[in-house]
Amino acid sequence: MVQTRMGDGMKIEMSEDEIREDIVRGVEDAVDRAKIDTLPQEEIDYLTDLYTRPSKFVSVEPGNEVVLTFDEGSVKLKRLVISIGRIPDLQIYERVFCSDTAELAHVDYSFKPVKPIIAEEQIEMEQALLSTILPLYYGAMPNLSLYSQPDGEFPNPAELLPKGKIDEAQKAYEGMIEHGIKDMVFVSSKMYEAGADGINFDTTGSAGEPDFLAALRATEKLKEKYPDISIEMGMSNEFVLGMHGDLEYEGTNLAGLYPHEQVKMAEKAGVDVFGPVVNINSSESIPWNIGRTVAMMKACAEEADIPVHANVGMGVGGVPIVETPPADSLCRASVALAEIGKQDGL
């Protein structure tokens, strides 16, 4: 029997056959949902071997290392109740965690609330750039929900839809998109002009496909304005939630797109690095979750013409949904995604 975990982090023991069966079931679920190719037998064997090794820690073979990119880096150590400012936090990512890029972010982590404090953020970015050498992004979430009542001026679609006011809800979303684009372009422009190497649109799609569309359009505008700006786009969910239902980008309805389809939209908009998400099912085992995750991530990487950096952390990318991800699951998911999932980075 081998020790592994459930999706909620609970330790369990499974036999090698059970682990293999769960990996296969997870792959089948991904194939069925995302309409992608299955994994060949040798890759199932590799994953089974990876998840039945008794060692607590595993790693990739030399030469198979991938880029490590951290989103929201400058506010994450604070969550561990470490009294630390944002710049020392970034320095730790650079010099202790060996991160290849990092991201300055505000604790509100949405573009809208950064608007009134943009001058302060520019100063912080300038100081951060002077005390680090790694490529430094500025990141936030499009977070379109902030543009509807009670936080914004548009009627709240979550209240309109249950009343059957579908047209009104769709119009509200369309207004929210325009305001979101404006804020994303404003904040990103200011931070790029302050020296940021790039911008990260993180947790894109959290308010459904209107949120995704706003980030795509903002990317287009920024690329037009600053052709050399680097744009990273991280997703929030394995498929784009259809909250509006009729929004298209370049002739494709955005609702319901899976990672291998999302990345093509991102490419068309001019995104440089794409961060796909595959969610964890907390009621299934980690072997089931990793089979599913790797199948979807591999399909995305194979479809992509830009670098793909999988989101790997709490509740995504084959890692249990616990506040501090366990090392045994985190390292195995990282190896699986690098070796089989064909990711360029994590």
């Binding site: 839809l161 579908i166 509006h244 969610n279 509740g315």
Partner: protein
């Protein structure tokens, strides 16, 4: 042929065709098909399929609302007939629903509310960031059968445990069934905190709540 009518009923819900759903409900009554059988075998099969398609990203929120409306209208006609015939319906079940304190995630809870309502369960939706005492006060006020909570964060799921403890302290634990759900919540967690039920998605919530209330 009732099986054909059941299939048409299910299809009308999936297609969010309110008028067709109402027409089929009336047709079932004319053909002396028991109203509750028409709901369970026909329209409910449709709403279960709707939940499945939504869960896979193949059907979107505006369509889901239309499907729920078709289900609600058709089952309304049939329930009225069932009540006239003295049959007990799910409408007798009342639930107080909300996202726990400190958590503002609304989408999943809203979908559960719509599907519960479509299945004839009366929902008192308290919204998000709901303190424990508000769940209890509302449940007492409306004499609810079930309190349903949603928690999307590992840091907020503990509020479910607080709710159950508070119900015990106030000697109300036997009065209300507690059903929990949300991303980090599992059946094991529900068992651990002594909740009465756990639902992974909206369809399962309907089944669990109906089982608990009956």
């Amino acid at each position: 042929m009732s099986s054909e009518l059941f299939e048409q009923a299910a299809r009308s819900v999936v297609d969010a065709d309110v008028e067709e759903a109402k027409k089929l409900a009336n047709q079932a009554l004319e053909e002396d098909i028991p109203p509750l059988e028409m709901i369970e075998e026909g329209f409910t099969s449709g709403i279960v399929e709707v939940g499945r398609l939504f869960d896979r990203g193949e059907l979107f929120l505006p369509q889901l609302m239309g499907c729920a409306e078709a289900m609600k209208e058709a089952s309304g006609i049939l329930k009225e007939a069932a009540a006239a015939a003295g049959e007990e319906t799910a409408e007798d079940i009342e639930i107080v629903l909300g996202t726990v304190e400190g958590d503002v995630h609304d989408i999943g809870k809203g979908i559960v509310a719509s599907i519960l309502e479509a299945n004839g369960i009366k929902v008192h939706d308290l919204g998000t960031d709901v303190p424990t005492n508000e769940f209890i006060e509302k449940a007492k006020e409306v004499d609810a059968d079930v309190i349903g909570t949603s928690a999307l964060l590992t840091t907020t799921m503990g509020a479910n445990e607080d709710l159950i403890k508070t119900l015990e302290e106030e000697n109300l634990r036997d009065r209300f069934k507690v059903v929990v759900g949300g991303g980090p919540v599992t059946e094991r967690w529900a068992d651990k905190i002594d909740a009465d039920g756990y639902a992974e998605n909206a369809n399962e919530a309907v089944r669990v709540i109906q089982d608990l209330a009956n």
